[in-house]
Symmetry: C2
Subunit: 169 residues, 2 copies
Amino acid sequence: MQDGASELHDDERLARLIRLSARGFNRALSLRLQQHDVTFGQWIFLRILWVEDGLSQRELSQRANVTEPTTHTALKKLELQGLIRRENPDDNRRRQHTYLTEQGKALRAVLEPLAIEANEVAAEGLSATEREDFRRYLLILIRNLERDEAEASKKGLKVPPKRGWTGDV
Amino acid sequence: MQDGASELHDDERLARLIRLSARGFNRALSLRLQQHDVTFGQWIFLRILWVEDGLSQRELSQRANVTEPTTHTALKKLELQGLIRRENPDDNRRRQHTYLTEQGKALRAVLEPLAIEANEVAAEGLSATEREDFRRYLLILIRNLERDEAEASKKGLKVPPKRGWTGDV
DNA sequence: CGCCTTATCTTCGATATCTAAGTATTGGCA
DNA sequence: TGCCAATACTTAGATATCGAAGATAAGGCG
């Protein structure tokens, strides 16, 4: 177990560093968005709609990678704030298409630069090549973990909620 | 804004990839831990105590990088499960030192290999050099974001909660 | 046409986290 | 010694997320 323990230490660093990075990004972005009364969650849906307006709640959930109750809550709030409106298409009273209001569209010019800034701050000091490598490593990691989860799922293991622990590892 | 938008797209990838990686790790680890009725949160405190037994709640909070109410809840549950016990030192009725029970200590041999496995799965396909670079990039990122947050804090901006949005960006 | 399955959104209850406020203990200093 | 500030833990209330179950609507098929 001695070897195992020291190996753990080395490997653990990766998980820990990634978690800290993710949290740092969240905070950097939230910090900027909150100055315009927009939360992280709202921003994510706005960002999707800026590119692709008129999506249903389900489509938004898939693109945002969250469950539908989560989307539901976020959209209700956005609607209340007058940033989106929702309406049924003529031929379907089930689906609810979500459209940005003028106010919601206008926010783009304000918020996008903030996201750019946060990302630029984070990557400061990394060369273009390094950034590219960085992305490549992250993609490998994500693919590995997806495969792992798929295999577990195949074995009948229930996958735990994605809602994450955000503390330090 | 056209340039801004495309620039956003490129930069955003980094935040998004990091977030996905963090979530993947959470899930991979939770998946393994839950087979032993241990949650992610519990594991984090166990892990700290395996290395350094007898810490106070505050010290544990700092090491785990979460707030004290969070630690409080987690410790209460661990105590209830018989994995830790808490007691006041003789000279101080305020502080509560946390000690692993035998059962808590024994769990180490079971759980540590699982964490090693999750980390190994994640880094599969990366050479030793690449892993080193990866860590270096992450450290730069974390440092950059910490600096950013410190600067914001100096300007009197309230820092948003660290509890993160875990969805896709 | 009517029923059963599927699709879509909504509601409910649970969990983990946070901030802020509350309680109790300790320590320093007039 | 007595009081006030700092320390340590606890409680309360808010938020964001999830899974599961509920409610309606649509579509397909005997």
